[in-house]
Amino acid sequence: MSTMTLARAVNASLRSAMMDDPRVLLLGEDIGKLGGVFRVTDGLLDQFGAARVIDTPLAESGIMGTAVGLAYRGYRPVVEIQFDGFVYPAFDQIVCQVAKLYYRTRGAVRMPLTIRIPWGGGIGAAEHHSESPEAYFVHTAGLRVIAASDPREAYVLLRQAIASDDPVVFFEPKRLYHSKGEVDTDLDLADEPPMGLARVVRDGTDVTLVTYGAQVAIALDAAVAAEDEGVSIEVIDLRSISPVDYRTVTASVRKTGRAIVTHEAAREAGVGAEIVASIAERCFEYLEAAPQRVTGHDIPYPPAKLEGHHLPDLDRILAAVDRVMDRPHTLAGAAQ
């Protein structure tokens, strides 16, 4: 057990996966000598060589398409997309090829790719560097979509993603790259819950707050603030946003009778819409209030100085808590 940042946990996860399986190799821009723009792949080129840590030309579709070819050949490529907003040039390869080849060949071709995407806002980045594109991938059958929320989760989930015979889009909240946590790199993966399962990170009785990624920490802060006002919030970290572990979500909502979903991505046709609809289908007779969404606005990602108005913060979550509790907005978190 040691304390490490999320970036180091991802590094350790890649290293152990590469040591365990010679078919695992990495492709991406600047991942070799530089160690990646976030230094996530630091040291891996020295340890595993250029045949397994492949610095690629600057072409996202090319990276993804050649990874498809390597997967055809039996390799297990881990692709790094440098920033969330740069995944779109590879979108065709991901949705038309990576996601569908297993289905198109009725199981004859496996695509055990892991697509790592530094993800989301909150770091004051330049344009195209703070996107939340998860809904595009959740909407695509054949992909699994995973979001890490702390260093330990990042370590375990990434190992599981690389071991999966299905393609996995793996979101790493870049806002948390430097946040620290306890990670046991000697843990036995067989003892860990599968990556498809959600986890209840805080028990509560009044409201179920469903979220994932960097938003988990904000949800926990909101739960603490709400407790001071006498509202007990159960926080669920989805971990997997495709498939969603509805067994855990519905069990919680049936207990609390109230549900809020929060994420950074825009609201329209977002992951929150899907989860709220599913909660309505599965828990209608248990609900005390209409489920709420607390999301980014339906806007292109704003300039860095304004991103605080876009990213759903503790107070916007608490306002939603007031709505589902059917009481005037009295809760307040951090002073504005």
């Binding site: 030309p57 072409a59 050649t66 070819g69 065709d92 297993y102 289905y103 060949t105 299905d166």
Partner: protein, 373 residues
Amino acid sequence: MLTPAAVPDLALSVDDAARVLTPEGERIPDPTLDPWLGSLDPGLLRALYRDMVLTRRVDAEGFALQRQGQLGLWPPCRGQEAVQIGTTHALAAADMIFPSYRETGVVLARGARPDEFVMAWRGEAHTAYDIQRLRMAPMQVIIGAHALHATGYAMGIQRDGADEIAVAYFGDGATSQGDVSEALVFSASYQAPVVFVCSNNQWAISEPVDVQSRVPLAARAPGFGIPSMRVDGNDVLACYAAMRWARERARRGEGPTFLEAVTYRMGPHTTADDPTRYRDAAEVERWQRRDPITRFETYLRAQGLLDDDAVAEVAAAADTLAAAVRAACVGAQTRPGVEVLDDVYAEPHTGLAEERREYAEYLAGFAETEERA
């Protein structure tokens, strides 16, 4: 200006391509191709002829089956038999092929069963053939995407140290796609053992090749650091020789090669297309005189390797194969409906498992209703 400006003659000339057989079927020397032909085995020559005739016959059958409502669509390859059969025969069985959707002859030369030509076009499956047995990726519909797959696969061959190559087949239109340019960049950067076969059939649906390129397509590859050859795509021997050259380069570790096979799509793009809207009959007539099968037959007869009896025997074999394709098509059994939900994920997926269970129950309800009736 709303249309591209006039293109230099060189980009459009169909005669500025390496060949060893004239359109009249006369053997002529070519310094680049001849070393790769040597003294050709008569068995190979007869096989090239036979496979071209069989391809044309299967192609005609596919067209007819579509017109009769048995197939949803068919992409004819008439006129392109030489590039497909010539290049495929130059490969080893282990070489991995990434074809586009018009490569009926490549599928045939790889030993497809009759049903494997039509199941995709009938809509029974996305992939018509056994990709492991044929060592062929599924036919690619997204234009040019598979040039990258072949490149990545070749990078895998490199890592395995295997004596194999990867091949991507695509058309002239695909060269306008970013993925093909990216495949040229990646394959050159890593010197991957891959051969790109561009069947320049002059038309990307209704867009002529001069909308795609200001220079001969083969002239682009050297700009990426990739040797290329512009070869007569209606000369099966030239196509065979060119692929042997390219394959040897790849095997020796000399990296990718780009072949532009100058040919012509005699029919429509697909059965949904009407080429009379965009090209004139005189052009088709000109290409008719360059027919790859007629040309090769003339040559083989002159060599004493083919006579009327042999021609009749091949024609009969082609009819037999076409009948088998027809029977397989008409007799196809559609899978049970619930299987539409199968093979989306390699590992259990809770969401889809639930969806499948619900749909199976829903379908079972109909069965119960029928039983009661």
